[in-house]
């Protein structure tokens, strides 16, 4: 201020005026609580209202959104229909959720749906299932869906997520490569290790995995344990029951998978490879087996040689004493379209959802993304690749032995993250299988005890 110690009055006044304005700006980070509007799903769509669809521009891209958005525009010519895209949903959409201005429909990859559901930020979209199917007269939406789709995406029984893809996760290999060496895919882990020894002798690495993201290998390992112990294991794990992770089947599976590392059956350096690096090496036949979901073909794109003959098979069980059949797989409906409870036009969001799940749009989706969808018969007549044919076979053979995923992976983000860390330690041989199971049990107990984490039940 001025040298004579006096502050000029006008300056002070201006400052006084500026402070509240700055305060209002600064408080944007965390505004006061606002109640979500109590909109009812299934009520009439206001065709004059704007509509925004937020698309996850990842493995499936955004080309497939064109058709459903055009159909919506045809139905409501006055509506201002907008497509927004991104890959970092948490960072992009979180501020909008806090401000109460989320998009009307979101293709969700990255937002914690369990947290959103528990904080009442999602619309109950159950009514969609009883609405008339968009392009199949006389049928309700639920009648057009594959089994399990209507039940998927529920939290405490309420339908919050609409899946749109139908896929399975398993182990991939190249059929021509297996045929060339006369190898057959084993059904149990001891046979798998025997085959690995043989493959290693032939100068190829038996396995690789997406080491930078160790969760890719946790899935098959848990599946091997599931086959050994039977479905009860999953229930106990998902419900965070005491000592669930101490199950002998889990320890045995951990032992089996650790042997991939200790016996040198992993492609050198796998523990540090990203998903793209490891999958590329696999596509170049540097390794025979890789665990992955149904999106592998689409993700590899042109990297995969045309004659690779990508084939998916279920994860091997543990031994002939297994309690669940070898054909068991995780999968079924996947992906999640959600309508935020605070959306400006939730009715429009649900209507767009009805259009997206039409046979026409889902067929278009399969043609563009080479991925199977949740609608019955939508892929009829679409030429399927070897990868998709093998997945179709896996789905058919699984019959009812198919479950979506371990629910703890969807419900408890921190436990999932900790299971990744423990998996990395296991594959780096920093912990024994028994120590691994103790650690997982400790993490599960911590989750069970933490009052700030909302619990769900299987």
């Amino acid at each position: 201020m001025s040298t004579d110690g006096k502050v000029e009055r006008r300056t002070l006044l201006r400052l006084a005026l500026a402070v509240p304005a700055a305060g209002a700006l600064a408080s944007c980070a965390k505004p006061a609580s606002k109640a979500a509007p109590a909109a009812q799903a299934g009520s009439k769509v206001d065709g004059a209202k704007a509509l925004e669809f937020f698309n996850f521009d990842g493995g499936y891209g955004k080309a497939w959104t064109q058709l459903p958005l055009d159909l919506y525009r045809q139905e409501f010519p006055k509506a201002d229909v907008k497509l927004t895209s991104g890959q970092k949903l948490q960072q992009q959409l979180q501020p909008r959720f806090i401000q109460g201005d989320p998009p009307d429909l979101i293709e969700n990859v990255g937002l914690d749906a369990a947290a959103l559901a528990s904080q009442k930020q999602l619309m109950d979209i159950g009514a969609l299932l009883d609405m008339d199917a968009y392009d199949q007269p006389g049928l309700k939406v639920k009648d057009t869906l594959l089994p399990g789709v209507a039940e998927a995406g529920r939290y405490d029984g309420v339908k919050y997520e609409m899946p749109y893809v139908f896929g399975v996760a398993g182990i991939w290999y190249s059929q021509p490569l297996m045929d060339k060496h006369g190898w057959t895919y084993p059904k149990h882990w001891d046979e798998m290790l025997a085959l690995c020894a043989e493959i290693k002798k032939a100068g190829i690495a038996p396995w690789t995995y997406q080491g930078k993201f160790p969760g890719y290998l946790t899935s098959p390992m848990l599946m091997t344990a599931y086959k050994a112990a039977g479905p009860d294991l999953k229930k106990k794990i998902d419900n965070l029951e005491p000592n669930a992770w101490r199950d002998p089947a889990l320890i045995a599976a951990a032992e089996g998978y650790q042997e991939l590392a200790s016996k040198g059956y992993l492609l050198e350096g796998s523990q540090a490879l990203s998903h793209t690096q490891s999958q590329t090496y696999w596509a170049q036949s540097k390794a025979v087996f890789i665990p992955c979901g149904g999106w592998l073909e689409n993700e590899l794109g042109a990297i995969a040689p045309k004659d690779l003959g990508m084939t998916m098979v279920p994860v091997p069980g543990l031994s002939s004493a297994d309690k669940a059949p070898f054909e068991t797989v995780t999968g079924g409906p996947g992906g999640a379209l959600i309508v935020p409870a605070q959306a400006k036009n939730p009715q429009g969001g649900i209507e767009l959802l009805r259009i997206i799940t039409s046979k026409k749009c889902m067929r278009n989706f399969t043609e563009l993304t080479k991925s199977l969808s949740v609608v019955k018969g939508a892929s009829d007549g679409v030429a399927l690749s070897s990868a998709n044919k093998s997945m179709q076979k896996v789905i058919d053979e699984a019959g009812t032995n198919i479950f979506l995923d371990w629910s703890f992976r969807l419900w408890y983000k921190k436990l999932l993250d900790n299971s990744d860390k423990a998996m990395a330690a296991l594959m780096n041989r920093e912990v024994t299988p028994d120590e691994w199971s103790k650690r997982m049990q400790k993490f599960a107990d911590e989750t069970a005890k933490d009052p700030s984490i909302k619990k769900f039940h299987a």
């Binding site: 806090i98 523990q271 490879l273 921190k414």
Partner: protein
């Protein structure tokens, strides 16, 4: 006219100070109040829970692991970078500068013009375990036995990331120290030479005391930098932060709690703890490195 001058200066300052207050100071202050809540970050709703987050933090083993890594980095990074830069700049300045010293200076400075994300991505290729530059080089010179999984192995991961920081940091401080050294009058060296001081002695007795101000600033900067490390760990490490927390640092753990676990209250508490540690260490650095100022 004093009056007009101060009004002018004030009006110029008002906008930047205002922006700074809104976008820097106010979020800092809000972090303190958010740290006392259970805010999950998806709604505007939150509850005051007192110091629960800090109690939880105190008992959180991952936080202590991260802190240990940060402490290791903040001791080793300044030590390595300052010693290396002093060595290089002393060499460049030796007897009035070695031939080609200007070119070396530019080359050393190269990494400093790259953004940290670019540096991370570049080194991803260097560390790639199969066809990466580093393992490839070891193989080529017949040291194939030394090949490592680098970032995938808990024993080498943190050291590998530290090596990147050193690679990226040395150049800047070489330039800083060379500038400081070239400002030292030549006759001081001549006098030392006449008194029989060798190069080693004239470095310790003459050069280092005279550029101590720059060294002090360098250490303070590097200590603050070592407490961050977020970008490189996020881009380079397995997990990130892994394998199995082997490269976990406080800033990354704060980010994970906020954006992966949706626990903003707890993340803010980590931020507040980091702020306190940062403040203490900066004061400590200046305290410990304080020396008599030498005038020349």
């Amino acid at each position: 006219m004093h009056h007009g001058k101060y009004r002018f200066v004030l009006s110029l300052l008002l906008v930047p100070v205002g922006l700074y207050a809104v976008f820097v100071i106010s979020p800092y202050l809000q972090a303190f109040s958010i740290a006392l809540t259970d805010w999950q970050g998806m709604t505007a709703e939150s509850h005051f829970i007192g110091f629960d987050n800090f109690v939880k933090l105190f008992h959180d083993p991952v936080f202590w692991t991260a802190l240990r890594h940060n402490v290791f980095l903040l001791v080793s990074i300044p030590l390595v970078i300052v010693s290396l830069s002093l060595f290089f700049s002393a060499m460049l300045n030796y007897q009035g500068g070695v031939p080609g010293s200007r070119i070396y200076k530019v080359v050393y400075f190269f990494p400093s013009v790259l953004s940290i994300a670019v540096v991370g991505v570049l080194w991803q290729f260097v560390f790639e375990p199969r066809n990466g530059l580093l393992n490839g080089f070891l193989q080529a010179v017949g040291l194939g036995d030394l090949r490592q999984i680098w970032l995938g192995d808990g024993k080498t991961a943190l050291g590998s990331i530290m090596a990147v920081v050193v690679w990226g940091g040395v150049g800047f401080y070489v330039v800083l120290f060379t500038a400081a050294m070239s400002a030292i009058p030549k006759d001081l060296y001549e006098a030392a030479l006449l008194d029989g001081a060798g190069p080693w002695q004239s470095f310790w007795r003459l050069t280092l005391p005279l550029i101590w101000g720059s060294v002090q600033v360098a250490i303070a900067y590097l200590v603050i930098g070592a407490l961050d490390m977020f970008a490189l760990v996020q881009v380079l490490s397995v997990g990130p932060g892994g394998p199995d927390d082997a490269t976990q640092v406080i800033s990354l753990y704060m980010y994970t709690n906020a954006f992966t676990y949706g626990n903003f209250g707890y993340a803010a508490a980590i931020g507040v703890a980091l702020f306190a540690i940062n403040l203490i260490l900066t004061l400590l650095t200046f305290r410990l490195t304080r020396r008599e100022r030498v005038e020349y």
